[in-house]
Symmetry: C2
Subunit: 516 residues, 2 copies
Amino acid sequence: MTCNGADAFIATLAACGVDTCFANPGTSEMQLVAAVDRQPGMRAVLGLFEGVVTGAADGYARMAERPAVTLLHLGPGLANGLANLHNARRAATPVINMVGDHATYHVHFNAPLTSDAAGVARPMCDWVRTAQSPRDLAQMGADAYAAAMEWPGRVATVIVPADHAWSAGAAPVAPRPLPPPPRVPDAAIAAVADALRAADGPVALLLGGRALRADALHMAARIATVTGARLVCETFAARLERGAGRAQIEKLPYFGEMAAEFLAPCRTVITCGTEPPVAFFAYPDKPGTLWPADAQMLRLATLREDALHALTMLADLLNAPEVPEGVQARAIPPAGDRLNAHAIGAVLAELMPAGAIVSDEGLTASAALFDATMGAAPHDWLMVTGGAIGQGLPVATGAAVACPDRKVIALQADGSGMYTLQALWTMARERLDVVTVIFNNASYAILNIELGRVGVQNAGPKALSMLSLDHPRLDWCALAAGMGVPAERVDSVAGFRAAFAAALQARGPVLIEALL
Amino acid sequence: MTCNGADAFIATLAACGVDTCFANPGTSEMQLVAAVDRQPGMRAVLGLFEGVVTGAADGYARMAERPAVTLLHLGPGLANGLANLHNARRAATPVINMVGDHATYHVHFNAPLTSDAAGVARPMCDWVRTAQSPRDLAQMGADAYAAAMEWPGRVATVIVPADHAWSAGAAPVAPRPLPPPPRVPDAAIAAVADALRAADGPVALLLGGRALRADALHMAARIATVTGARLVCETFAARLERGAGRAQIEKLPYFGEMAAEFLAPCRTVITCGTEPPVAFFAYPDKPGTLWPADAQMLRLATLREDALHALTMLADLLNAPEVPEGVQARAIPPAGDRLNAHAIGAVLAELMPAGAIVSDEGLTASAALFDATMGAAPHDWLMVTGGAIGQGLPVATGAAVACPDRKVIALQADGSGMYTLQALWTMARERLDVVTVIFNNASYAILNIELGRVGVQNAGPKALSMLSLDHPRLDWCALAAGMGVPAERVDSVAGFRAAFAAALQARGPVLIEALL
């Protein structure tokens, strides 16, 4: 039995286990809309802007560990989703994009929406294909799934000409068996073990990617127990499983000079699931690499190798005890009297339920939030992986779709929140269990810091106006109300505590605007 | 005297006459921020999302006929602005983008924000260059200006490595003299005149680009007077000067079958400033070309040729009278009792002041709005040129910056308005004189029509949910209030009339949410 290309493509994705479609369709995607409609068990989640759609797909897959599919409208629609695909790619998240395009025979007319959709995709995607026929489109469902699941994840994009979607003669394609994650060669792990045994002085184990999951961190903590290594999380991690009862782990600071100072005492730095740390930006007369020049740099595993296996084998080679020391204790720091990032973090540490998922785009607030919540009940912490702001609310949206039984907490700076504020509407429509906390300081605060760091002196009012969100100050409660999310404004620690406690009791989206 | 690359670049642009910078900067653009700050007479306008920035640059230059410069943050920031660059390119608008990128020596570190910025630019820009040195960056200011002004306009993008911006040794470069617009060869115009004299049956003169300005339309009306030609505006025009006292002109309908029916009686179709019309999308079993198969197709001028010159010469060759017939009379249609696009158009026709600028992203409302305002006081009508929605509010923003003494009216569908709603904040901050009318029908209404047109039968609730903006219904008054724009909701013709009249009396941004 044959069907049209769209139905075959969607059925193939469904057979691969894809059950969620984040969509912002247009006319050229109507057959794909219809195919999603007809596919039993596939959920369709509408976003009112493509950056919401792609960011939600990222958040979904960070939690689900399998891809959702996005539905985007030709080159310009894909373009609107690129920034969060950049973040997803940097997070090594599995994502499948389906991008409708003009019918093949319509392209040469150069109608207004004509563009090079594959060219738009290429800079931000790992794998880009254009379907060549309705049958090929079905095959591409299986191929895209395999590409997206290339361990631990890739961004795969299929360009779907409208005539391939609506023409008959296709049939679903069977999923391709996935290979296991690539393992680090035994000899390489043994070499790290030897180097560690011979190492003199402090050791840092810098962890990223899948090395930040609880199981891998347990092995890292075992290694730390015998080597005295500090466990360090990369600055922008896709997903860190942390909190009380899990391995104690610090985070490498954002500012390069602070990161370099942090690592300065280390004589040995082992990377696992990440690369040696570099500065986020270049600055005049500041170094780009952040590790001590005379430190021994050892690579245990790359982002694309099986970190859990490597850490387990290394722990065993080092005869590390099964039960590590350095387990994080439950801890609630004093909140203090002033409403700021630390105070909010302290309230989070006190109240966050076990299993919470935090989407952190707090930017200048993030370091204090991270530190204060170290001893919170066990939770997941999702960060902005690619530096493209506007990730926070969409990732929270997707995580909530993936994990309907877990409380999601979006910690959102005001400036970056504005890039993809439309996510609030999707939270409302899908009744997602997300508490959004907006840090309203009416400023691109990070840029006011960076202005000096790049060597700009005596910035004038015009420059400062480009870094300010004041005049007018954003009213996030009104914005939330406009999209159907109940909201409350607080300006005191007690006020925040009460609002946050109430939000945790409720189900469904709530926004708390914290005036800082 | 030498300066750093950023100062030399901005000073060069200023010497070319660029006096407006629409900006959404980040760390890697701080030297450019400082350079704009130091440049006397250059205005900086902050947008809270890059699609606002690029769309505003489009709207600005459609009115000013010279480019603004945008300031965007690396590949992902540029990506967020691409959709409206696509529209600007289709509008043949002059735009200069400056995109900060990592310092050249920082790229190989593959820091989180690293991407192929030039690759991001290429699909949506006409001209893309990466500065090779601080001195080269200054030269690129002059080159980009010349590229953007390639008649009638191009999208030019300069990628600015941060070290070229901050390093010394550069100096401003003199503007390059601009060539005049290319003229259609006399013989080609004469051939059209001959063909017209010999033509049998109805003639349509399909006009686009610069042929839609009042001076060119006057010539077109002269031609119509002697040939009986219908004057037809392309479906998506960058800027049409119309209204009472100007040439009478119809618009080619959006839906292909309606456009084909519109042109069916024509035996001769002359294009000037545009190409022969094609369907916006392909549909199964519907034609892509919209002119009658047996009609004579004549090209008077392309988009990139001097339409005014060609029309003037053609009118003279045809001995057309200096004063044409077919001048549009002042006319106000009856509004009727129900608040809908026609009624709103009728109120606009009655109340719009002379010199108003209309940014039309009404989509399903646009045809009725256009028809009803035919006899309004003379005004400019700006349309969505590339089909990438989210143009309307940013273009209104930019037009208002370019023309502070003219009233700007944004006619905005609700669904497309959500893509770049952040424009409202810029309107508030800059106190721009824009009346935004939101057509709130809680639906991607156009897609509900298109669903059937592409042959989807029996769409299920999941498909329909992807085309609906209900649950929750957007509250545009709240959204506007959240960004500092006073707003009012109306659900009757009288209510709209009162609100619109009051908005015209006020100065500064106002939003009217029309519940349809």
